[in-house]
């Protein structure tokens, strides 16, 4: 039975926790940061499926055990897509700011209206 190195797991845990916490924020910019950190965490945990530090997956180099190329390829794709998504979200946050003069996620107007209907009316 083998495990990844503990220090990497701790790093992943912190990145995930921080990412999820930021995701729960009102500020869109912090949400974008959260997604970035979640991306790092996910890529790192993909690499944790390999057993230990080994040689890079290049043929013709030094002889020895090579690391598993599959998680690398997956993480590489993930990095690129995270980049695309982050820039898009950044532009989105910016536009929200242009419109509202703040980059906070507002409550859905329709839902707020419904919620107000359910609350008993003020007697005042």
């Amino acid at each position: 039975m083998s495990t990844p190195s503990f220090i990497l797991v701790v790093t992943v845990a912190v990145l995930y926790s921080g990412g999820f916490y930021l995701l729960l924020q009102r500020s869109l910019m912090r949400v974008v940061f959260g997604i970035l950190m979640l991306g790092h965490a996910a890529n790192m945990s993909l690499l944790l499926t390999d057993e230990a530090i080994t040689l890079p997956p290049l043929l013709g180099g030094a002889s020895g055990e090579m690391s598993d190329p599959l998680p690398h390829a997956m993480a590489l794709t993930a990095i690129v897509i995270t980049f695309g998504v982050t820039t898009f979200l950044l532009a989105l946050a910016y536009r929200v700011w242009l419109g509202d003069e703040n980059d906070e996620v507002p409550d859905d107007v329709e839902d707020r209206r419904i919620r107000r209907l359910t609350e008993p009316e003020d007697s005042s």
Partner: protein
């Protein structure tokens, strides 16, 4: 049969045109359609009575056991004759009931004809699903017909009530029908009748089906919609709400009784609800003043009676039930038509205002007398025959027989009572009411009612002739209740039934004699107002729905996300606790692979924790960037140089882009959330993060299968590459890369469209070989200088040249585009470095592109490096430098990249044996060494171009565009500062 149905719906579509052309006379033409159906049914009657049902079966979607199946047996024949025959007469009646200028008459005619078609389909359908479709169609048409006078609020409300109540039942019925069909293994009614299923599922299914039947036939507790539906024009009340549609529920009970009549759920429901409805509705009818409402409650009462008979489950009861059903259609429809005539001729149907109509309208009077006699069960009418048969049948219907019989007798007493009330109220001369002025009805107006009343009268003496038809259905009910099969006849001899009939008449006379007291007592004893209960229920449902929506849909993104995360943690936590994960053998703990990991790991962790705390945006961006660089370093240490390179490059681009955008946002995040909320979020985040990390930790220990990548090195060798990852990306799994770059293209388009609402900015075009660069800064400064005392003065001198022409062929300047920058923003050192570095960076990017297949690098990394080069030029020289550096549009680059990548893929498919597979050759270049070229390189080149386009697009959108917006704002800001010191 299909042709008949189609004819109905075609006629319905044509009806508005006909009405527009010929006015109300068009109803006579429309009447021909149900008339044809009635004639068709009569022609087939001998065969059907002889035991040869007419069937048609068209497979529609056999894999879902959906069939267009029609079948006319004895019950179907009777129902067809009622639906089509009365439909014909009612349409004829409509031709005189309405005036030509009645609003919406065309629509009304169409809907009424369509209803006749749906009713015909309902009684002929042999498939339960198909039956349900017609069932709901009649509901919808009924809704439209009740709401005919859409401008009246009551009319709309009544229509809505009918729709809500019957649809509620219909939904329950649909569930029941499906359960029944699944239990029987067939949705064909004939199959279910031939081999009825049994079991708990069937019991539940039948209960649900009965809910549908009771609601459709307006039995208690669903009866409120029928009196309300009297808002409809009288022909509709006579046809839908007396003769045809309300019989659909009774029909369904009759249809299924041969299969399920012996089940307690069937008998008890039918007997109990039927009997109670019959008595209560009859009692209610005794105090109505509106003739139509009186008939409506009478109808509800009679529908209860029919349900009792048809659901009782014995052969004789079924015989009496079907006879009663015919009799009811024949007496209730003409009575409604009579009310319509009275209403039409006098302008009222309140029996307190009507007086002396007996003399004024003799034909109508005698028609009513005959129909009422049949309703009250007086000889020699059809009603008498049916009621005698019913009393006879109920004397031997199981243990509940006596109770039910008593209830039925009580209900019949009421029936006689309200029959007399109707006769007296509509026609009698009342001493204290002046004779009502009458506008005499025409012969065609009265004819349909007369025909129906005549049939009511003839039904008695001709009972023997009708008996085989009715018995044809009744004999399919196998349970006899231990009695000999009886037959319909006008004279059964002296016995209990005759005595009960006499009792009913006597009781009815007494009730009529005491009518004032009965009405008073009825008002006093009224316990529940059904309408109020209905309204309260609806309001409660509304409010409940509102509460649920308001509770679950908070409209707050953090709450939604938090709920999702908590659900993830809880759902994963349950198996962890149940499976006692901590008792399992724990994998060994290995602190690190090498101590070097400690440095980047600590940097990442500290930076990540810092992001959570800091309130300054710029600081947060730097910290997030640090987590990225830390991760990249860990990748490098983990034996993933490709990942590390890409992560470094992407992180750098991201960092710059973030900073570019942050220029415009306020320096700090808005006020933090409440402390409690923050703590809660922190808990949720930590729990989820720990959970996921624990999964990652245990995943490796739990791994059983070999990695699928063991064959990859050989595959890479075969493909002629030595960098396995690159081979995976551009060769083995190139389709995934196609998807990935498509995402990038979409993201670029999204960014651009968010930043430029109309189109991307374009540099001003000059003569070929010339670049036009606007002089942004200088004129602005001039303009503001003279505007101190006059704020309205334009800040930009319109006559001054606003553009600087630049010759790019030879230029002594390092970065020509930087000319447009304000002096204080320029840095000569930065410009020189940018200029000198650019060719080197581009060379590096091309190198990365070429060696991608054999060494660390690739199209993506190369593209990003090229993008970084452009970024440096933009940062040093401003946006016009960016335009000068790359003249191609980013959209064009992205598109070209996609085309090249896709083209390679398709070319491989056309020329090669495999998609995305192609040849390879080696090239020896002096100084560089061996270069291994494959067709995958072309694919990678596509990726390269696309990535350059993406970075360029981002720079133009989030860099240049923001610059532009800043410049547009700054003069006004500056002015405002000057004015308000």
């Amino acid at each position: 049969m299909l042709a008949l149905l189609t004819a109905h719906f075609a006629a319905a579509l044509l009806a508005p045109l006909l009405v527009r052309r010929w006015g109300r006379t068009a109803f006579l033409m429309l009447a021909a359609v149900p008339g044809a159906a009635a004639v068709w049914a009569l022609l087939h009657a001998p065969g059907v009575v002889a035991g040869h049902p007419v069937t048609t079966r068209i497979p529609w979607a056999p894999e879902f056991s959906l069939t267009l199946a029609f079948r006319m047996d004895a019950l179907g024949l009777v129902m067809t004759l009622i639906a089509a025959g009365i439909g014909t007469l009612v349409l004829v009646y409509c031709a005189r009931y309405f005036s030509d200028d009645e609003p919406g008459l065309g629509r009304f005619a169409g809907v009424l004809t369509a209803f006749a078609g749906a009713m015909l389909g309902l009684v002929l359908a042999d498939d339960l699903i198909q039956l349900f479709v017609y069932w709901e169609l009649t509901t919808v048409f009924s809704y439209l017909l009740i709401g005919h006078r859409a401008e009246l609020r009551e009319s709309r409300r009544a229509a809505m009530t009918a729709l809500v109540v019957t649809t509620l039942g219909g939904l329950a019925m649909l569930v029941g029908v499906i359960m029944l069909g699944e239990a029987a293994g067939s949705y064909l009614v004939s199959d279910i009748l031939a081999d009825p299923p049994r079991g708990t599922v069937v019991t539940v299914a039948l209960a649900l089906v009965l809910v549908g039947a009771l609601s459709k036939s307006a039995l208690l507790p669903f009866s409120l919609w029928l009196p309300a539906a009297m808002q409809a024009p009288t022909p509709v009340s006579g046809y839908l709400h007396a003769a045809a549609m309300v019989k659909a529920g009774v029909y369904l009970v009759a249809r299924l009784t041969p299969a399920f009549g012996d089940l307690p759920v069937w008998q008890v429901t039918a007997l109990a609800f039927g009997a109670v409805t019959m008595v209560l509705a009859g009692w209610r009818a005794l105090r109505e003043y509106d003739l139509k409402l009186l008939l409506a409650y009478g109808t509800v009462s009679q529908l209860g009676f029919l349900t009792v008979l048809l659901g009782a489950g014995t052969r004789d009861a079924a015989l009496a039930g079907l006879a009663m059903l015919c009799a009811h259609a024949l007496f209730k429809a003409p009575l409604f038509l009579v009310v319509g005539i009275i209403d039409h001729s006098t302008g009222t149907r309140d029996l307190r205002e009507l007086s002396g109509l007996r003399r004024a309208m003799p034909v109508t009077f005698w028609t009513a007398v005959v129909a009422l006699a049949s309703m009250a069960g007086l000889p020699p009418t059809a009603g008498f025959v049916a009621k005698e048969a019913a009393f006879e049948a109920l004397t031997h219907t199981g243990p509940a027989g006596p109770v039910v019989l008593a209830a039925v007798v009580l209900g019949s007493v009421c029936t006689v009572g309200y029959s007399l009330r109707f006769l007296w109220g509509a026609f009698a001369g009342k001493p204290d009411v002046a004779p009502t002025p009458v506008h005499a009805p025409g012969p065609l107006f009265v004819a349909p009612a007369v025909v129906l009343a005549a049939l009511s009268l003839a039904g008695g003496p001709l009972a023997g002739a009708v008996d085989p038809v009715v018995a044809g259905y009744a004999d399919t009910v196998r349970w006899t209740g231990g009695a000999e099969a009886q037959h319909l006849a006008l004279w059964h001899g002296v016995g209990l039934p005759l005595a009960l009939s006499a009792l009913c008449v006597a009781g009815g006379l007494v009730l009529f004699g005491l009518r004032e007291r009965v009405a008073w007592l009825g008002h006093r004893l009224e316990l529940v107002d059904a309408d109020r209960v209905y309204r309260r229920t609806l309001a409660a449902v509304d409010s409940f729905a509102l509460q649920v929506t308001g509770f679950t849909q908070r409209g707050s993104l953090p709450i939604y996300l938090g709920t999702t995360l908590v659900t993830v943690v809880v759902l994963s936590g349950i198996p962890i606790i149940q499976g006692r994960l901590w008792t399992m053998e724990a994998p060994p703990v290995r602190l690190w692979d090498s101590p070097v990991q400690l440095v980047p790991a600590i940097i990442t962790v500290v930076a990540a924790l810092g992001v959570l705390r800091v309130r300054r945006r710029l600081f947060a961006v730097v910290l997030v960037g640090l987590t990225g660089y830390g991760t990249a370093t860990l990748f490098a240490l983990q034996g993933a140089p490709d990942l590390a390179l890409t992560q470094f490059l992407v992180e750098t681009v991201s960092l710059v882009v973030f900073v570019l955008v942050l220029r415009r946002l306020p320096p700090r995040f808005s006020t933090p959330a409440l402390r409690g909320r923050r703590l809660g979020n922190l808990l949720i985040g930590a729990a989820t993060g720990l959970l996921v990390a624990a999964m990652a930790y245990f995943a490796l220990a739990g791994r059983r299968a070999e990695s699928i990548s063991t064959g990859f090195p050989d595959a890479a060798r075969e493909a002629g590459g030595t960098n396995i990852i690159s081979v995976i990306l551009v060769d083995l799994r190139a389709w995934d890369t196609m998807g990935e770059i498509s995402v990038l293209a979409v993201a670029a388009a999204g960014v651009a469209s968010l930043m430029f609402l109309r189109r991307r900015t374009q540099p001003v075009r000059g003569r070929p070989g010339e670049r036009a660069v606007p002089l942004a800064a200088a004129p602005v400064a001039d303009g503001t200088a003279g505007s101190a005392g006059a704020p309205w003065q334009p800040t930009v001198l319109t006559t001054a040249p606003r553009q600087l022409r630049v010759e790019p062929r030879w230029n002594p300047l390092w970065l020509p585009g930087a000319q447009a920058l304000a002096r204080e923003r320029r840095s000569i050192v930065f410009e020189v470095i940018a200029r000198a570095l650019f060719p080197v960076v581009m060379l590096l990017s091309v190198y990365l592109l070429f060696v991608g297949h054999t060494d660390v690098g690739g199209g993506f990394a190369g593209g990003i490096v090229a993008g970084l080069g452009l970024m440096v030029r933009y940062l040093a020289g401003g946006r016009y430098e960016l335009y000068a550096a790359v003249r191609a549009q980013p959209g064009a680059l992205i598109g070209m990249g996609l085309v090249i990548a896709t083209g390679t893929a398709l070319a491989g498919a056309v020329f090669g044996t495999e998609i995305l597979a192609g040849g390879a050759f080696d090239l020896h270049i002096p100084l560089v060494g061996d270069l291994h070229l494959t067709s995958a390189l072309v694919f990678d080149f596509g990726v390269y171009l696309l990535v350059i386009g993406l970075v360029l697009d981002i720079l133009r959108s989030l860099g240049a565009r923001v610059d532009e917006q800043l410049e547009k704002e700054s003069p006004t800001e500056r002015q405002a500062e000057e004015v308000t010191p």
